[in-house]
Amino acid sequence: MAATNILLAGFGGQGILFAGKVLAYAGLMEERQVSWLPSYGPEMRGGTANCSVCISDHPIGSPLVLAPDILVAMNTPSYDKFIDAVVPGGLAILDSALVDRRCEREDITVCYVPATSLSKEQGLDGLANIILIGKMIAERPFVSNESIDKAIDKCVPARKAHLIDANKRAIALGAAQ
C-alpha cells in the first residue's frame, strides 16, 4: 500500500491526538514515512480536536489530511463535518455511542462501534479511542498488529506504564467488533 491518510476527530480529552500518535509510531516501527499534525489552539481548550496522520512509502507532501482514506469520528459534529470528505472506497469508523447518525453514503465502508459504552463495560475507561484503532487495523491492516503493540509500548508514558496492557486489550476488543 503506497499511502494511507487518516483523520481522527472528536472532543478534546477523548485521546484523539494520542490515538493518532500510536498510528504514526506504528508506521515508524515499519520504517515508513509518517507525519502527525494536530489541530491546535482554541479547540484544544475543550472544544473539537482533530489530528491528521499520513503513513506512506514515499516522502509526504502536505501533512494536512483533507480527503481521508480513513476517518475516525468520536462525536456528531466531527461526523457531520468530515463524512463527505472521505474518499470513495474509504473507511469511516464511528463511536456509535456518541454519534447519533446513520451514514447514507454507499461508496464507503462504515463501521459503527459503540466504543465509549464498551470501554465502560469492560473496565477500559478512557480507552474508546484505542478500541476504535483496534477496529481500524482489523478492517484495513496498513500496519501490522505487532507494530501497533510496539507503538503502544512507546507512546504510553512511563508514569502510566500500568495502562499498557489495558491499551492492548482495547485493541483486541476493537478488532473483535
Binding site: K21, A24, L28, Q33, V34, S35, W36, L37, P38, Y40, G41, I60, G61, S62, P63, L64, L66
Partner: protein, 348 residues
C-alpha cells in the same frame, strides 16, 4: 518528534547553552523543551519579562561569544526588531526563530507565511541583512539549526529560522547529527574577560562620526556580498523538463509538491523550486529557470511577499503568477493544482 521540540533539541546539540524567550503560540513548545533540557546540560534557560528583554539578553550572551538563541512568533518577533538591529550592528552571531502565525496585529494562531518581508527586510532599522532559512520538514528544521549557527558564526551575522505553525506543531521522524558536527569557530572578538592577557574587546553599535559609521556599513556590505555569492540554498523537484516553475518555501512547498505530482499525472510539465535560504534569496535558481520555463507560479501563505524577489530576478522576461491563502488558512493541493491548470491551459 514535534517540529518545535526537534528544533530546540537541535539547538542544544549544536552547542546552544543560552536560551531566552517569552511564551507565544505556536512556538511555546520550544521554550518548554528548553526549560526541561537546559538545566540538564548545564545551560541557561530564562523566561524573560518580555520579548524585548529576551532579545537584549541574546545580545549580551552573543557578545560574550556563546551560542545564544531566542524564539517567538510573529507579533513577538516584531517586538524584538530593535534588539535585532543592534545585534546586527554589533556583528554578533545568534539564532532567532520565528514560528509564523496569521497577522497583522495579534492576528490569529494558525499557520502563516506573512512574515517574509519582516524577516528578509524589515526586522530592525538600518543598512543591514539577516541570514534567513526556511525549512520544510521536521528533519530539515534540525539540519538548518546546525547550518544557521555555523553560517552566523562564520559571517558574524544573526541568523533567523523562519518556520510556521504547521511545521512547529507537526511530528515527523528525525535523526540528529552528532554533536561534534557543530564546528566551533574562533571568536577573538568576544567580550569574555581578558585577564590582562590581551587588549580589551569592545562590542558597540553607537558610532557618532558619519565617516566611521559608513566604513563599518561598507565592511558589512562586503560580507553580505560574499554571503550572496556563496550561501544561496534551494532544492528543485521535477524541474528537469518543466515549462512552469512553482516557487514555494516551507509548508507551502509541501502542498505545492502534492499539486505538482497530481499535475504531472495529467501530463503537465511542472516542477518546484523551493528556496531554503530566503536571504540570500536563491537568485541563481530563478535565473537558471528563467531561461528555460515559460512562466512561474509563486505559492505562499500570504498575499504575495516572496514573489517580489522572484520578479526582481525574472525582470519581466517571463510571467510570474501568484496563488496564496492567508490569515491562518493553508492552501489545499487541489487549489494549487487548479491554478497550475489555469496557467497551463488544462489537461494535455
Amino acid at each position: 518528534m514535534k517540529g518545535n521540540e526537534a528544533l530546540a533539541e537541535a539547538a542544544i546539540r549544536a552547542g546552544c547553552r543560552h536560551y531566552f524567550g517569552y511564551p507565544i503560540t505556536p512556538q511555546t513548545e520550544i521554550a518548554a523543551y528548553m526549560a526541561k533540557r537546559m538545566p540538564k546540560v548545564g545551560g541557561t534557560f530564562l523566561q524573560a519579562e518580555s520579548e524585548v528583554a529576551a532579545i537584549n539578553m541574546v545580545l549580551g550572551a552573543a557578545a560574550a561569544g556563546v551560542r545564544a538563541m531566542t524564539s517567538s512568533s510573529s507579533p513577538g518577533i516584531s517586538l524584538k526588531s530593535e534588539g535585532i538591529s543592534y545585534i546586527a550592528a554589533c556583528d554578533l552571531p545568534c539564532l532567532i526563530v520565528d514560528v509564523m502565525r496569521g497577522g497583522p496585529g495579534l492576528g490569529g494562531i494558525q499557520p502563516s507565511q506573512a512574515d517574509y518581508w519582516q524577516v528578509t527586510r524589515g526586522l530592525g532599522h538600518g543598512d543591514k541583512q539577516l541570514l534567513v532559512f526556511a525549512p520544510s520538514t521536521v528533519q530539515e528544521m534540525v539540519d538548518t539549526v546546525f547550518n544557521a549557527y555555523h553560517k552566523a558564526d562564520t559571517y558574524r551575522i544573526p541568523a533567523v529560522i523562519l518556520a510556521d505553525g504547521m511545521l512547529g506543531q507537526m511530528m515527523e521522524p528525525v535523526s540528529f547529527p552528532d554533536e561534534d558536527k557543530a564546528e566551533a569557530i574562533e571568536k577573538p572578538w568576544a567580550t569574555n574577560g581578558h585577564k590582562g592577557k590581551r587588549t580589551h574587546n569592545i562590542v558597540n553599535s553607537l558610532l557618532l562620526k558619519p565617516e566611521q559609521l559608513e566604513q563599518t556599513v561598507f565592511e558589512r556590505a562586503k560580507r553580505y556580498e560574499q554571503v550572496k555569492q556563496n550561501e544561496q540554498l534551494w532544492e528543485e523537484y521535477r524541474m528537469e523538463d518543466a515549462t512552469l516553475a512553482v516557487v514555494a518555501y516551507g509548508a507551502s512547498a509541501r502542498i505545492a509538491m502534492n499539486a505538482i505530482d497530481a499535475a504531472r499525472e495529467s501530463g503537465l510539465q511542472v516542477g518546484l523550486i523551493r528556496p531554503i535560504s530566503l536571504w540570500p534569496f536563491p537568485e541563481k535558481a530563478i535565473e537558471a529557470a528563467a531561461g528555460k520555463v515559460q512562466g512561474f507560479l509563486c505559492v505562499e501563505m500570504s498575499m504575495g511577499q516572496m514573489i517580489e524577489d522572484v520578479r526582481l530576478v525574472v525582470s519581466g522576461r517571463k510571467p510570474v503568477a501568484f496563488y496564496g491563502r492567508t490569515g491562518g488558512i493553508i492552501p489545499t493541493p487541489d487549489e494549487v493544482l487548479c491554478e497550475i491548470k489555469k496557467l497551463m491551459g488544462g489537461e494535455r
